[in-house]
């Protein structure tokens, strides 16, 4: 497996997109290889940083959506 292909597979592994058999095989290779495990750890670390950027909408936005749903449901009943 060339480097580019390996990195692509590691990204897919990280996002749980590999078929089960490939997932298990690559996970095993990662745990057996210092280089692969280092690279995988970098991907996981970046994902953790991205997770930190998750933001919530203003509660008012959710309220508006729910009110719209109730309003349209009430209209359907009449």
């Amino acid at each position: 497996m060339d480097n580019t292909s390996t990195l692509n597979k590691l990204i897919q592994l990280s996002y749980s997109e590999l078929p089960e058999s490939q997932h298990e095989e690559l996970a095993s290779q990662v745990s057996d290889s210092y280089e692969l495990s280092e690279t995988f750890a970098v991907i996981e670390e970046l994902k953790t940083l991205l997770d930190g950027e998750m933001e919530a909408p203003n509660p008012t936005s959710v309220k508006i959506i729910l009110e719209e749903s109730q309003r349209s449901s009430a209209l359907e009943m009449h």
Partner: protein, 192 residues
């Protein structure tokens, strides 16, 4: 362990009239949907509007009986949100300019003023550093990163949506992550 109710079950019960299920569905996915929109439009106020528009469109689809149960809920919502964001940018470009006496576009002045305030807010917030880095990425890389990580679309779905091969989508993600790593390293950013 308490089993989480599935999206499919929540949608079914909502369509049958249980409004509480809509709230549960929104609360389950709101952060990912909102963050995806925010990363695309980079403006909190616009993101809030588009978030509302997205879910109002979702509700209309549910109530019309046209929702396709085969696809995953979150990627479907994210696709709606992305399309609305694209429409928003198209409309914004078509808006007529109103000029002040000295010929300046008054909305541009307002926009700059608002943007400066937003930028200041961003600079003051340590947590915005990663968002700034994401915004430094080339658009193609940023799009794949945002749609995969926040929108939960698979690389296959992203490839179909952006009309590229899956290898291209993966390549863009690879470059995005690598560029993020480089920028973080160059800026010696402490992320602890």
């Amino acid at each position: 362990m308490k089993e989480q109710i599935t999206d499919k079950a929540l949608i079914k019960q909502y369509i049958q009239g249980n409004e509480a299920c809509l709230e549960m569905l929104i609360n389950k996915h709101k952060n990912k949907v909102f963050t995806t929109i925010l990363m695309i439009v980079n403006d909190r106020y616009i993101a809030e509007d588009l978030f509302q528009e997205t879910f109002i469109k979702v509700i209309k689809t549910f109530k019309s009986g046209k929702y396709n149960e085969e696809g995953k809920f979150l990627p479907w919502v994210v696709r709606i949100a992305r399309n609305l964001a694209i429409d928003h940018f198209r409309k914004a470009k078509r808006m007529p300019k109103v000029t002040s006496q000295d010929g300046e576009d008054i909305f541009r002045t307002f926009e700059i003023s608002e943007r400066n305030r937003e930028q200041e807010y961003i600079r003051d917030q340590r947590d915005e550093t990663i968002r700034e880095i994401i915004n430094m990425l080339p658009d193609e890389q940023k799009q794949v990163l945002v749609l995969r990580h926040y929108g939960d679309l698979s690389f296959k779905e992203i490839a179909a949506l952006t009309d590229v091969s899956i290898n291209t989508a993966l390549g863009r993600m690879r470059y995005a992550l690598n560029n993020m790593r480089k920028i973080i390293s160059e800026k010696s950013i402490s992320l602890q």
